[in-house]
């Protein structure tokens, strides 16, 4: 809209169409500024740092590469982390749109990853054509059942899903930890033994253009799932009813939607995506499970979903951005000598700003209102003294959104 363009940043923040997009972009810009200041304080060049993040995930060429690897191998490694991140945020989005808060994504990931590793990953001499689909199927079934369990607990015993998922997370973490330590541990790494290449959702050491790449299968699944979720919520009766349950439970009941059923279904679907995230994470990216450790990705995904405005397509972009910092952290750390934990810090800053979206919109609305008043007073002044027609509005428009922060 032309009108919005004229009003600058504040106008964008208040326009229905662009507000959410603007908030996300603004969050990224603010994150870049804040973390640059942080890096400068540490005496590092932020441009070099951000460049090395991009180099680390294969988006910019590095100065030199180790034997057999290249930019493409870095990029495929990046996609390998992207896949579970996107799937986990889709998992959150599905529940969130139904008004449920799935905080148990980590646990659902861990259990499905563990089950697939134990049931398929340790079988020797299994054809990859059987093993890989089996792993995906286990991810779907285990995740779906875990999600359905949470939905059932809520509907049958009225246990809030946040409470039950946190509890279940601990249970899963300790049970899987116990079995890994007692049965499947690799004495050297203290993690679970690595699973067979046939079961992995990554084709390892594929030669492309002279470099060795690990090609992730998960990213294809993840992108496909993003479009499926988008389709469910924008076009299907099922998605329409889930959204109705999410925004107005009373009205959904009144039009005959079985609310309890919808909540169980939604949690089950959310669990399916968490399960897929689990198998792509544990059998695609890491290939091993650290006992008694929940994947932090399950929580990062919540913020990624919010950064993407809880839209599946938004989540693709949001997870693509956040993953840059996770995937490029090692190279950044070694090339400029900053601890790699800074990557998590940067992600945290980004998510913090993303969570301030509503506040930014309020600031925008206030700014628009102030401009409006200035224009009105200017017009009234102009009417009072016709000799000076362009008294105020020019000055009022000049200071666009720059001082909004």
């Amino acid at each position: 809209m032309n009108e919005n363009k004229k009003k600058g940043l504040a106008g964008l923040l208040t326009s229905e169409k662009w507000a959410n997009f603007t908030v996300s972009v603004l969050a990224i810009v603010l994150m870049l500024i804040t973390s640059s200041i942080m890096l400068l304080v540490m005496g590092k060049d932020p441009v070099v740092a951000f460049k090395s993040f991009l180099q680390g995930c294969g988006m910019l060429p590095k100065a030199s590469y180790g034997g057999g690897s290249g930019m493409l191998s870095d990029f495929f490694d990046y996609l390998n982390i992207l896949a579970p991140m996107l799937l986990a945020s889709l998992s959150f989005i599905v529940a969130f749109k139904t008004g449920l808060f799935n905080i148990g994504i980590s646990g659902q990931m861990l259990l499905s990853g563990f089950t697939a590793t134990v049931m398929v990953g340790y079988i020797k001499d299994l054809s990859p054509w059987i093993a890989k689909p089996l792993v995906i199927l286990i991810g779907i079934v285990v995740g779906g059942l875990m999600g359905a369990l949470i939905g059932f607990l809520k509907y049958q015993f009225n246990i809030h899903e946040v409470v039950s998922t946190i509890m279940v997370n601990y249970i899963i973490s300790y049970i899987t930890g116990f079995y890994i330590n007692s049965k499947y541990v690799d004495m050297l790494t203290r993690s679970s033994r690595i699973c067979s290449p046939a079961a992995r959702l990554t084709w390892t050491k594929v030669q492309i253009g002279g470099v060795s790449c690990n090609i992730p299968l998960g990213v294809v699944i993840a992108l496909l799932c993003a479009f499926i979720v988008q389709f469910i919520f924008s076009r299907t009766v099922f998605g329409f009813e889930l959204k109705a349950v999410g925004t107005s439970r009373g009205c959904a009941r009144y039009i005959g939607v079985n609310v309890a059923n919808s909540m169980v279904m939604s949690m089950a679907l959310s669990g399916v995506f968490a399960g897929l995230a689990g198998v792509t994470y544990y059998l695609g990216y890491t290939n091993t499970i650290v006992p008694k450790t929940l994947p932090g990705m399950g929580y990062d995904a919540i913020a990624v979903a919010l950064l993407g405005n809880s839209s599946p397509i938004g989540a693709i972009f949001a997870s693509a951005i956040v993953t840059v910092f996770q995937s490029g952290a090692n190279y950044m750390s070694s090339s400029i000598g900053v601890a790699k934990e800074i990557a998590s810090l940067i992600t945290g800053i980004l998510l913090l700003f993303a969570a301030c979206g509503e506040y930014m919109k309020i600031l925008g609305a206030r700014k628009v209102q102030r401009d409006e008043e200035k224009r009105i007073t200017a017009r009234q002044n102009a009417a009072a003294s016709p000799g000076d027609p362009k008294a105020g509005p020019v000055g009022g428009d000049k200071e666009k959104g720059g001082n909004e922060r």
């Binding site: 109705a244 107005s248 009373g250 009205c251 009144y254 039009i255 005959g256 079985n258 009105i376």
Partner: protein, 510 residues
């Protein structure tokens, strides 16, 4: 120039797609009851929200006590001794009455001379005094969630008085009240006028204006039509000005063509979660072409009857039969399919999904049927077409037609959307709960004629209304409910308004 306490000069306010106020100018004198009359969406509430600092006008000026003012928030307005009772009360449910009233300006004390804390004893005492002074009896230590709507309204009024309001705005105060409560409220308003307060009353009920107001401004589609002395104008005149055309104040009703029995409710008992009966052993039946109205004071079990019939509340005992089929244990959707439409009491949390578009809301009864969806895929073109035709037929006004988010629409238009959506299903049984609450004369007569048209078509209609006049006007059979019991069921023409009123108060025969 006269001495006005509040004066509007050339106020204009636009929202996307709607001009809410256009060049409105008038003044309000100190110590009068000034009414603001207009249809839904005429701009009454917007104008008062401007006075209360919730909106800023796009153009024009406002003078309060002779001073030019510009309010940026409700706090600015409160500082100028302006108070407002909103149509939807703004109270904290799990706080006591006193806590709600003092919230934001609590009397403080220092416990043990050190720790600052809220002096609730003082607050309770102050509020008890204040409520006695104005005849607004409340118990300051009751929780809001435990008191009826009329008491909540008194709390809102006390809140204004506690904040030393001199200019008091009431937004549709009688919409939620029963006839006796309305009389009580009007007496309170009269008392406050005697105490020197200036009262601004937003309403579309002309008889109340005739009863209480000194002067009245009439708005029609955002423009000021006239400001008149209430004594000099007739009700018919005011109604015509408000709607902008000639209106019929009396509904014409043809004799009923009673057909077969559609709904049979037998020994129905509904309990709350503590097994306390809210509806006790109610039995009645409604026939095709009959309007069965349940009259009663709010909170006597009316909505529980309708919720039990539609399946929103479980039935403790008794049976509900529709067209000879027992639906006592059927699901909500099965009942709707069997032929029940329902206009619920709480439109905002039950009747519509506030964050969906108008088009989606208008399709809520249909989205599962062809052509609105096929093989579980929604067809948004058809949903839009459906919305356009209903918007036209029921005169639903909104900023952007079917694309408007329902939350942004006025309450009256939300109600029109629900009524239109439910009537259009043309089911065998239509349940109307307070179908015209908060609507203006034009919309009321439109909905009444739609109800009568459905009756003509042969629908069985259950009408639950707190407006006795509406019951008397439309009903073929009247059932009066008191304390969950149907005290009296009789043909409408055998009862007078007074008799019904007596039964509503619990007077038994014999």
């Amino acid at each position: 120039m006269e001495d006005y306490i509040v004066e509007f000069r050339h106020i204009t306010k636009c929202f996307p797609g709607i001009i809410a106020n256009s060049d409105v100018s008038f003044g309000i004198k100190e110590g009068e009851v000034f009414a603001l009359l207009g249809e839904n969406g005429a701009g009454k509430s917007t104008l008062m929200s401007i006075l209360f600092g919730m909106y800023q006008p796009d153009a024009g000026e406002m003078y309060v006590k002779g001073q030019k003012v510009k309010f940026h928030s409700a706090n600015d307005a409160t500082a100028m001794n302006i108070g407002m009772v909103h149509q939807h009360f703004k109270l904290v449910d799990n706080y006591t009455i006193a806590e709600n009233i003092v919230l934001g300006m609590e009397p403080m004390t220092r416990r043990f001379g050190i720790f600052p804390s809220v002096d609730m004893d003082k607050a309770n005492k102050e509020i008890a005094d204040l409520s006695r002074e104005y005849g607004l009896e409340v118990n300051p230590t009751d929780l809001i969630q435990d008191v009826p709507v009329s008491v909540r309204q008194r709390v809102e009024i006390l809140k204004m008085l506690y904040r030393k309001a001199e200019i008091m705005i009431f937004d549709e105060p009688t919409a939620v009240l029963t006839p006796s409560e309305i009389d009580f409220l009007l007496k309170i308003i009269d008392g406050m006028r005697a105490a020197g307060k200036t009262i601004i009353l937003i309403t579309h009920k002309i008889e109340e204006i005739k009863q209480i107001a000194d002067r009245c401004a009439i708005l029609c589609r955002g423009k000021l039509v006239d400001v008149l002395n209430v004594q000099d104008a007739s009700a018919q005149e005011m109604a015509n000005m408000m709607v902008g055309r000639e209106v019929d104040l009396v509904t014409h009703k043809d004799p009923a063509h009673i057909g077969k029995e559609v709904l049979n409710v037998s020994h129905l008992t509904v309990e709350n979660e503590h097994h306390f009966p809210l509806v006790k052993d109610a039995s009645f039946s409604i026939h095709s072409g009959e309007i069965f109205a349940i009259a009663g004071v709010s909170g006597n079990g009316q909505t529980q009857i309708s919720d039990a019939i539609t399946g929103l509340l479980p039935i403790a005992s008794g049976t509900v039969t529709l067209n000879g089929k027992d639906i006592t244990n059927a699901s909500i959707r099965e009942r709707a399919k069997a032929g029940i439409s329902y206009i619920p009491e709480d439109r905002q949390s039950t009747g519509v999904v506030m964050d969906f578009t108008l088009a989606e809301n208008l399709a809520l009864r249909r989205y599962r049927k062809e052509p609105y969806s096929r093989h579980n895929i929604l067809n948004f073109d058809k949903i839009r077409e459906n919305a356009d035709s209903l918007i036209e037929k029921y005169d639903i006004r909104s900023g952007q037609g079917g694309k408007s988010i329902v939350r942004s629409m006025s309450g009256g238009n939300q109600q029109k959307a629900i009524v239109g959506r439910e009537i259009e299903e043309h089911t065998d049984l239509i349940i109307f709960v307070q179908p015209t609450r908060g609507l203006d004369i034009g919309a009321i007569s439109n909905i009444h004629s739609q109800i009568l048209k459905e009756r003509e078509r042969g629908a069985a209609i259950l009408l639950i209304s707190l407006e006795l006049s509406e019951v008397m006007q439309l009903a073929d059979t009247i059932g009066v409910i008191f304390g969950g019991e149907l005290l009296k069921i009789a043909p409408a023409d055998s009862l007078t308004t007074n008799e019904v009123g007596q039964y509503m108060m619990g007077v038994r025969e014999g």
